[in-house]
């Protein structure tokens, strides 16, 4: 090995004008290859799903049983004891299916968001040891929740058909409704997982917030009931507007209206007018954009902050 050859190739500045290939920019939320991002997120979610499936004796049954148990408790209390469905007129028909559907949708939201809070921190060994689009981690959590949602929705549909729900043209709205739900969940999950790296109290804070959201959404109490209270004057106008701004109200109520019972309020009726729907829809877009922006900003130094 000649010493002169060594020193010449050791001085890279001389060759800098030549094309040097791909620059290494460091870790990011997404890199240039969408397929790598997708494969990673999908396969992480898939293996987690598999683990749940084969991990315990009853396997996947638990995934379905959990929302059903909550449903059972709420159903007995609010239908058999309080008779919440009786005061609703025709909108009270299929209340069981309505309740179950909202529980399942909320379970998805809760799994996707609460599950992603710790996700980046828990996958520390990945983040610190290999280069990959960081966004794949919270995305995999949302994907896993989507797999579960798919199974749970099957149960909802079977339950609804047994209760007497018949197919409607408005079922075609399903992709739109679920799309909105996935969008807001993904936005929140990006936001939470990125912030948790720096602020560890995001976890208890989100637990409380998600409890509040459960009661501030039409899960137990349908939106018609809340609206009626407004007409009676027992609900403050400001609070009602706040309630209607919650995108989960729009999503859950429209699901009940389009999928189960057309006599229930549609999302537009809850808002008062269809154009007013732009507010919760815009909020979904804003949350998603904010979540992505924050995650993208944090992604380059997550490996160092852990």
């Amino acid at each position: 090995m000649s010493v002169s050859g060594v020193s010449e190739s050791a001085a890279p500045t001389a060759a800098l004008s030549a094309p040097l290939g791909q620059p290494i920019r460091g870790p990011r939320a997404l890199d240039d290859s969408w397929s790598r991002f997708w494969h990673l997120a999908y396969n992480i979610a898939r293996s987690e799903f598999k683990l749940k499936f084969f991990g315990s004796a009853l396997g996947y049954l638990w995934q379905v049983v959990r929302p059903l148990l909550l449903f059972g408790v709420l159903y007995i209390f609010f239908v058999e004891v309080v008779h919440i469905d009786k005061g609703q007129g025709t909108a009270g028909r299929f209340y069981g299916a309505q309740l179950l559907s909202s529980i399942v949708l909320f379970t998805f939201f809760s799994e996707a968001t609460s599950g992603s809070v710790r996700s980046v921190v828990d996958r520390e060994n990945l983040v610190r040891k290999i280069q990959f689009p960081r966004l794949a981690i919270p995305t995999s959590v949302v994907l896993l929740a989507i797999f579960n949602l798919g199974l749970n929705l099957l149960v909802v549909m079977i339950f609804a058909l047994i209760e007497g729900v018949r197919p409607m043209v408005s079922w075609l709205e399903l992709p739109l409704i679920l799309g909105m739900l996935v969008l807001i969940s993904a936005g929140v999950s990006m936001l939470l997982s990125a912030l948790f790296v720096r602020f560890r109290d995001i976890s208890p804070i989100w637990e409380v917030v998600s409890q509040i959201l459960f009661y501030a959404s039409p899960v137990i109490l349908p939106a018609e009931a809340v609206h009626r209270e407004l007409a009676h004057g027992s609900v403050n106008h400001f609070l009602y507007h706040l309630y209607t701004l919650n995108p989960l109200v729009t999503i859950f109520q429209q699901f009940r209206h389009a999928m189960i019972n057309g006599d229930t309020y549609s999302a537009g009726q809850v808002m008062g007018s269809w154009p007013a729907l732009l507010a919760p829809v815009a909020l979904v877009v804003v949350v998603f954009a904010l979540g992505f922006w924050v995650f993208n900003r944090e992604a380059p130094h997550i490996a160092e902050d852990l």
């Binding site: 050859g5 060759a15 920019r25 870790p27 040891k129």
Partner: protein, 425 residues
């Protein structure tokens, strides 16, 4: 060397231009909002650690490039910057071709899944498409020699099996540029050799390899060129043997100044040379004090010559807890003439053996003598240095030499049978 000649014509496989990286180390880490709210000013209190300072280098296609340095010199940080795991503060890095990183083996392995799922998942993490990862499954299992254990969950694998599987996946990712961070230090000796064989094969196939290590033996054996890092700065880049020398100088030159124990204990000998330090293992900075049983054991002795000495002999005695000499070895056994040493010269004498010692504490005693009958003592090192041998094999003997045992049953001899006298048949 061909890789050197081509470096000037073809663009480099990897180029780094004045990259710097610093870490902010908070003095008191505040992780919760309450802490932040109570101490809003504390946020700004942090130390800045400059891990890398203005480092530039280029690696030619097909080159085996070593990055060496002591612990904390920034070599792993540099590798992480090259791999895209850390973002550099300033400077640019370019690569040509697919790059794969071996910073840790088996990243993302899930202990509850079987080999197949882990191979697929790990392959995808390392940059393969799912199709490619699945297509390589058979060759991965074959290389790892795990054909009979495919159905087992990973948690039921021994750690050696896990390492083999992880390494096999990693080498199936056919990248043109490989970044390797001392992953060779895992596995048993046979598997390590297999790893080295693979790296040599890859080198011969013309792939570009960037290898981070503090094993100077590996550097001089494999690398075409090496770079020495010290406190985040590139001290020197060039011929591996020269770099290895510089490394040893840096690593050992520092502590020799304060030979405190030399004053404390009266030393035997004429003082033409002094034993400065005795340590276990390859890396002096690591300060190992444990030697696992039935693994290679190396004791290194740093000697500083105070005047010209010709053919000195260095001998090592290992005393066990009962002060019984268990091992005695002298350098003259191996090479009669160790050569002449000048005044001020530093040399490391090493004693390597397969560790067959019984578990317990051992004290090394080192004696340097002039050539001849070994009675003309230059220095005798009897300081209370010790190390511990760990292992499960403790028969009660002084050493644990593998012994084959057997039995040959002769049965019950018939009554009245008289055993023939020896040699009568």
């Amino acid at each position: 060397m061909t890789s050197q000649d081509t470096a000037e014509q073809t663009p480099p496989a990897l180029a780094a231009q004045s990259i710097s990286k610093s870490f902010k180390i908070p003095e008191e880490r505040s992780h919760t909002l309450k802490e932040r709210a109570l101490h809003p000013l504390r946020r700004s209190r942090h130390e800045q650690l400059d891990a890398l300072k203005d480092i530039s280098f280029a690696v030619a296609p097909g080159e085996f490039f070593g990055i060496v340095g002591r612990n904390g010199s920034g070599k792993s940080t540099l590798l992480k910057c090259l791999a895209g795991i850390y973002r550099t503060d300033t400077g640019k890095i370019w690569t040509r071709g697919r790059m794969s990183t071996f910073i840790e083996l088996g990243v993302g392995f899930n202990m509850d899944l079987a080999a197949y799922d882990n191979v697929a998942l790990n392959g995808i993490m390392l940059g393969l498409s799912p199709k490619e990862a699945r297509a390589r499954y058979d060759s991965v299992i074959e290389f790892a020699e795990l054909e009979d254990f495919q159905e087992l969950k990973l948690k039921n694998y021994s750690s050696g099996m896990q390492v083999r599987l992880a390494f096999s996946v990693a080498i199936q990712v056919d990248a043109e540029i490989l970044l390797i961070d001392e992953v060779l230090a895992v596995g048993d000796a046979a598997f390590q050799q297999k790893c080295f064989d693979v790296f040599i094969r890859m080198r011969d196939e013309g792939r570009t390899i960037i290898f981070v290590t503090h094993d100077m033996g590996a550097v001089t054996r494999f690398c075409h060129r090496a770079m020495l890092l010290e406190r985040g700065e590139a001290v020197e880049t060039g011929d591996p043997t020269e770099i290895a020398d510089r490394y040893l100088e840096l690593a050992f030159g520092r502590d020799v100044g304060h030979e405190d124990f030399e004053v404390a204990t009266p030393r035997m000998g004429d003082g033409a040379a002094r034993v400065s330090e005795v340590w276990l293992g390859d890396d002096r900075a690591e300060k190992r004090s444990v030697a696992p049983q039935s693994e290679p054991l190396t004791l290194n002795v740093l000697v500083k010559f105070n005047s010209h000495v010709l053919d000195p002999a260095v001998s090592l005695t290992l005393l066990n807890e009962h002060r019984q000499p268990v091992v005695v070895a002298t350098t003259t056994d191996d090479h009669e003439q160790s050569g002449g040493f000048q005044e001020g010269e530093l040399a490391v004498f090493s004693f390597s053996m397969h560790n067959m010692l019984a578990p317990g504490r051992y004290h090394p005693i080192v004696t340097i003598t002039h050539r001849g009958d070994g009675l003309d003592v230059i220095d005798r090192f009897t300081r209370e240095a010790s190390f511990v041998v760990t292992g499960l094999s403790a028969s009660g003997g002084m050493v644990e030499i593998p012994v084959q045992t057997g039995v040959d049953r002769w049965g019950v001899l018939p009554a009245g049978y008289v055993q023939p006298a020896r040699g009568s048949a």
